[in-house]
């Protein structure tokens, strides 16, 4: 079915810019999005939903490196990961895409929140994060080489300020939709019953 269009419109966006809500969506067409499947199929790797010891250690090392560097620069062996956009205000649907620069030698990237929970592990420098509740959510990125060595880390976290649509608006849309739906079903039912009755009468007369 062609509900595709709506779902695609609802997807987050590639381009950097302001935090996007559905109304300013830049939809991704199915063919374009499908193009990414191959890359993801070859890149996908199951990840723990919580970071493992290696990732935690790497995160600690990165933090130490950053803290010891007043200029906010990472150490010489770890490249800096920069998010294309570091702040997303009023994320209305609780989901958002994060994008960052590619790191030379990196074969996988990891996105962690401030509590160390993993939200993404894959080869592409883009992560789709969904299901967030209201509030501020911070994410940091790490890059690892094929031999599982940390080769990059974000200095500045990406912050999402999730602010879901007001429930009053949600219930209003829901209510209008319900009324239209019930009215339509009622009309079909009334029409079908009426038509059936007329048919029966016509048969009786004939």
């Amino acid at each position: 079915m062609v509900l595709l269009c709506q779902a695609v419109a609802f997807s987050s966006h590639h381009a950097s810019g302001s935090a996007q809500g559905p109304s300013d969506a830049t939809p991704i067409s199915e063919p374009v999005a499908a193009e990414l499947i191959a890359t993801e199929l070859t890149a996908a790797k199951p990840a723990p939903t919580e970071a493992g010891p290696a990732e935690r250690e790497a995160a600690t090392e990165t933090e130490a490196s950053v803290e010891s560097n007043p200029g906010n620069e990472t150490g010489p062996t770890v490249a800096e990961i920069e998010f294309v956009q570091t702040r997303f205000d009023r994320v209305r649907e609780g989901y958002q895409s994060l994008q960052w620069n590619e790191i030379a030698g990196a074969t996988r990237y990891l996105i962690l929140d401030s509590e160390g929970n993993s939200y993404y592990e894959g080869a592409l420098p883009e992560a789709f994060i969904s299901g967030l509740s209201d509030g501020e959510h911070s994410f940091m990125a790490q890059a690892f080489s094929a031999d599982n060595r940390l080769v990059g880390a974000s200095v500045q976290s990406a912050v999402m300020l999730v602010d879901h649509w007001p429930m009053s608006q949600a219930w209003a849309s829901f209510g209008v939709g319900l009324i239209v739906f019930l009215a339509m079903i009622g009309l079909i039912a009334a029409g079908a019953l009426r038509a059936s009755k007329l048919t029966d009468e016509a048969r009786a007369v004939s």
């Binding site: 709506q6 997807s11 993801e40 209305r92």
Partner: protein, 492 residues
């Protein structure tokens, strides 16, 4: 539960181009052979366009299911779940309500127009040009953009699943569908739909079973509750707003599209209501099953970059090469079952609602007794229309411009505004041409305005709601007195 870390990396799960070509060749030969075999009875235009109006319950149900399961269903239902949680999967599955609602309408259509061919024909005869002009424009826009976007999706999906170059995959998909539709018309479409629906349903069941045996639902729930709580929330505002909008979009798609009307005409009297209702029942769990893939992805730790890739990605990750193969087959069947239906139904629409009226006005190609085109002339016109549609789709899809599918976004309010004129016009004599035309035009305009001013998630809803109000008021203040018996005869 299954050790998630033990799930194999899917780098090897993508089919090789050789395997892809073999699969493509096998299924192409199969569809064309079956299409020709099933279509051998299409000796008259009635046989070609509406399968002799004698389709039974099994074939009728299968064609409804197969046509409504497109590649979008297998890709977008998981995306909806990943974005909007449980409500997202439910919202997508409400598209089956359109089949349920259309069930009684299909019986009425068949009863009112035993010799009818298209939805536009009904609107033209019911409302005149005031209703049929906007309806024809909406129908053509919807059908052609859907057809082109499906062709593009076919090329892309075959490329990413098997490495077959986009131009080759897209061309083969279009050529195969055009070929067997050309030979067998609606007979071929419905016959192949039967096989395709079986393959799709079995494929999805295998994926569902594989997913359920490899993951622990309680674990999925626990992880989502911790990391992505809104996906499980009953009070997810965006999901609540999207629910009826999507449902009404689905209703609009089915109620207005000749894909569904042509099947109503093709089914034996009394079969349509049962077939559409049963089709809805069979279709209903598909988005739920597919949607579960979207919900399972975070728990499986599968990193998602693009949400509409989540379904194939999870299936391929869990099932390895077999999963990729299954996805390939399901996608090919889904594409073929929708493209062939669109080709046949849109060709009917072109012949009956554009070519024939023009021929009538210029008095060419008419039967000696006047009125309509001869059977052979209509069959020739159908052949040309199918080739034209195939060539158009191929030509537009070939450059692989990825923005075309976005045009379909506008179809939501357009088709949503057709709901009331169709339902009202089918059952009641009071709705007038003015009411129908105004409802479609004003509903479409306000729906499109809502799309840009508010957001996509209210566009279909606004279109349907406003067109309903306009339709009701116009019917109230300027009622008509339509005689339904005039629809029983063949169009003149």
């Amino acid at each position: 539960m299954q050790d998630l870390f033990a799930i194999p990396v899917v780098a090897t799960a993508v089919l090789s181009p050789t395997a892809g070509y073999v699969m493509l060749a096998c299924f192409s030969v199969l569809w064309i052979s079956l299409g020709i075999w099933w279509g051998r009875r299409a000796t008259s235009y009635d046989g070609f366009a509406v399968a002799g109006r004698n389709v039974g319950l099994a074939l009728g149900t299968a064609t409804a299911v197969a046509t409504w399961i497109t590649s979008n269903t297998t890709m977008l239902a998981p995306q909806f779940a990943l974005q909007l949680g449980v409500w997202g999967a439910v919202a997508y599955s409400t598209a089956s309500f359109g089949l349920f609602a259309f069930a009684p309408m299909s019986g009425r259509i068949r009863q009112l127009m035993p010799k009818g061919y298209t939805a536009v024909e009904f609107v033209r005869r019911r409302y005149g040009s005031l209703g049929s002009v906007p309806f024809l424009l909406i129908s053509i826009f919807y059908a052609i953009t859907w057809l082109i976007s499906m062709s593009m999706a076919g090329g892309k999906l075959l490329e990413v699943l098997s490495g077959i170059p986009y131009p080759v995959g897209m061309s083969v998909v279009v050529a195969v569908c055009v070929t067997y539709t050309l030979f067998g018309g609606m007979y071929a479409v419905i016959g192949t739909d039967f096989i395709q629906s079986l393959i799709i349903l079995v494929g999805l069941i295998v994926v569902a079973v594989a997913v359920l045996t490899r993951i622990d639902i309680a674990d999925v729930h626990s992880k989502l509750e911790t990391n992505r709580p809104m996906l499980l929330s009953v009070f997810f505002p965006a999901a609540l707003m999207a629910l009826f909008n999507n449902m009404l979009f689905g209703f609009g798609e089915i109620f207005h599209s000749n894909v569904w009307w042509s099947r109503a005409f093709a089914m034996r009297e009394g079969v349509g209501p049962k077939a559409y209702a049963l089709g809805g029942v069979l279709w209903l769990p598909v988005p739920i099953v597919a949607g579960f893939l979207g919900l399972a992805a975070p728990a499986l730790g599968i990193g998602i970059s693009q949400p509409d890739t989540v379904g194939p990605l999870v299936a391929a990750t869990l099932l390895g090469t077999g999963g990729a193969l299954l996805v390939f087959v399901v996608v090919f069947c889904s594409l073929a079952s929708s493209i062939d239906s669109l080709l046949a139904a849109t060709a009917d629409l072109i012949v009956n609602d554009i070519v024939e009226p023009i021929a009538k006005s210029t008095q060419t190609g008419l039967k000696p007794d006047g009125g309509v085109m001869s059977d052979s002339a209509k069959r020739r016109a159908s052949t040309i229309a199918i080739i034209f549609l195939g060539a158009l789709s191929w030509a537009v899809a070939y450059p692989n411009v990825g923005t075309l599918a976005t045009v379909l976004f506008f179809a939501g309010p357009m088709v949503g505004s057709c709901i009331w004129p169709i339902v009202g016009g089918l059952y009641f004599k009071r709705p007038s041409p003015l009411a129908a035309g105004a409802a479609m035009v004003i509903g479409t305009a306000t729906g499109l305005w809502a799309y840009f001013a508010i957001g996509w998630f209210v566009a279909s809803l606004v279109g349907a709601a406003v067109s309903g109000v306009v339709f009701g008021l116009a019917t109230w203040f300027a009622p008509d007195d339509f005689d339904f018996s005039t629809l029983a005869d063949e169009a003149t």
